[in-house]
Symmetry: C2
Subunit: 363 residues, 2 copies
DNA sequence: TTGTACGCGTTATCAT
DNA sequence: ATGATAACGCGTACAA
């Protein structure tokens, strides 16, 4: 039989009705004042006062139901522990915040097998739009993306015909940059520590590695190729396996986490970096600059991709009729100590207290 | 004059009305079927069919307005780049997901000066509860926390009288563990690289450091104490400043990011770790195990704190009348190569390919 | 300027 | 089992 709606809300908290009643005005007036539109000075004062007295807090859910927007943007990534996502997220946050919205990050943490379910669930209108960066794209995935009830932008490679806004890079070419650099530095026994081949980036980087070697007329030695996961421990383990059966003079790693694992494995096995083995990572994250020696790394423009994705999303939210767009961010190589062209002195073995400052780090 | 509500929703998407009309039943029946309660086999079939045909997706906002819950939990941290929050988040996620809810992470990124505003905004009912881990607690902060419209659990030190659920550790004692360990290993010129003193953890760790030295009868040499930020670059810079004016034989760092910066600074300056300078970090994150040599670190039980905080939050959501609770997680020390008690051989200088495996890393 | 009344999309209640 | 209808809390035409 429903109580009279002139009092508090179900959970005992004040609503517009509470404020209106206390101020002695209608809920319409109260609402107007609380939203800063209209109201005579006297009304404004009374409503403000009443609101403060009862500690009124607007119910965002109800507001959203009315306005059809939540002001929330979601970002879904697989592994929040990967610094590349941190950089992406910072860039996205900047754009999103500038538009007066809020960014929410959902980390599947690699734990949730069914990312599709998450996608559907999160997209049930709790957010005005979302950015996803999947590393595996199944048909289910794609279907969920395409008929998402809210605007979606995908960061990463996607089928050419997928009608979804998409920001990509060319990690294939990225690997080539690394190989070219190493070959130019005189390396020939170049190894590759990759992530799973059934992932989109894993496959692309594998192809890039083989194409690059072929371009230089170098035959691929399968003993120099190892596959693990896109993570530190797996990268380290993979490198240990590789070192147990081969003697590379350079190592390309499919991301920086793997590269850090490789560095650890190399040093632990007594190899000097870069004099014995040159090392190049990928993603060019903060992690690469945190290592000693600092890691060369192929930048895939993660921040730029994040920024662009956020902009595409905001545009689509503003105008849902836009045709699907596709943007591409070119890779670039940052050369640092781990693959210095003149590896006559390994930084690790400089004994003097006055060693030359490591490049690209400003204190 | 409002259009008849028997068709689509405002943005052209199907609603319960659409489904009901198409199935030739009432919205009540449609709703029941869609929620899996009641309905004759025939009705169920018709509704399911109609829903599939029009691609019905329930509007979570409307559902929440009705049910008074969103099924979302928020976690607000300052710096998502700090691995300690990653571990905390993983632990929280596990508990939250097990309760059938979803975790949303909001990273202020250290950019938003007014975290209080965020707190209020995010708490306007978009989430069923939230966990915050502030490093600075102002009066405003505290006020916002106390009269938050949704349940809040704070991870971190808080005034003893604050009526807010709270999970803390004792980083003061944590620093003591590190100092005790270093003194036992024969170190005497122990330095300290801290974060800002106007933060809660910064102040606590400073106090802990001074208390620990005093307990061992060692006078504090202010030249061995340096303050920066809780981040890598700042930690490295602070260590460089410290090394420019003093010669420590050990360094305690206020977190692992700082410790990594310190390691980089030490190695770049030609110091061996641990033989010349022993190094101990804090938080015992994955980062500590990624370094070479691996970093000793004081665990503040970040995962455990996260887990407990999530449990407290779920309990409070279930029963808001619970009195404020306070839990404490004790610190512990993980000793690794960077402060090995027998520093006769620096791992950095082991030349043999068959070096002993670094402890605590399983490939 | 102010108040009345309706709609946002859903679930729950109460008759039938 | 089913259908009409009242909430949930808010914003806003529209009329006064």
């Amino acid at each position: 039989m429903g109580r009279k709606r002139l009092q508090e809300s179900a959970d005992g908290r004040p609503t517009v009705h509470t404020v209106a009643a206390r101020a002695g005005v209608s809920i319409a007036s109260a609402s107007r004042v609380l939203n800063g539109v209209g109201g005579s000075p006297e009304t404004v004062r009374k409503v403000r006062e009443a609101a403060a007295e009862v500690g009124y807090v607007p119910n965002a859910i109800a507001r959203s139901l009315q306005s059809q927007r939540t002001g929330l943007i979601a970002l879904a990534v697989e592994d929040i522990g990967n610094p590349v996502y941190v950089e992406m997220m910072r860039a996205i946050e900047e754009v999103v915040a500038a538009s007066g919205r809020q960014l929410l990050v959902h980390a599947t943490g690699g734990q949730i097998a069914n990312e599709t379910a998450l996608l559907r669930r999160l997209a049930h209108r709790y957010v005005d739009g979302m950015i996803v960066s999947p590393i595996r794209v199944t048909d289910d995935h794609l279907a969920a993306l395409v008929d998402s009830p809210v605007p979606v932008v995908v960061i990463g490679q996607l089928g050419a015909d997928a009608p979804v806004d998409n920001v990509r890079t060319d990690s294939r070419t990225g690997v080539c940059l690394a190989v070219d650099h190493l070959v130019a530095a005189g390396r020939r026994r170049i190894g590759f520590v990759n992530g799973p081949l059934d992932t989109v980036p894993g496959a692309a980087r594998d192809a890039g590695f083989r194409a690059a070697l072929a371009a230089h007329g170098i035959e691929v030695d399968e003993r120099l190729v190892e596959v693990g996961d896109f993570q530190y421990a797996a990268g380290r383990a993979a490198t240990e396996r590789l070192l147990a059966r081969a003697r590379p003079d350079a190592l390309v790693c499919a991301n920086d986490l793997i590269a850090v694992g490789a560095l650890h494995a190399l040093l632990a096995a007594g190899h000097r970096v870069p004099s014995d083995v040159a090392l190049v990572g990928m993603d060019d994250t903060e992690l690469a600059r945190m290592m000693f020696p600092q890691l060369s790394s192929v930048s895939l423009g993660s921040a730029e991709r994040g920024r662009r994705a956020a902009e595409l999303l905001l545009q689509r939210i503003a105008d849902p009729t836009l045709p699907p767009r596709r943007e591409q961010v070119p890779p670039s190589l940052a050369v640092r100590a781990s693959s210095a062209a003149v590896p006559d002195v390994s930084p690790l073995f400089v004994p003097a207290p006055a060693a030359p400052p490591t490049p690209e780090v400003t204190a």
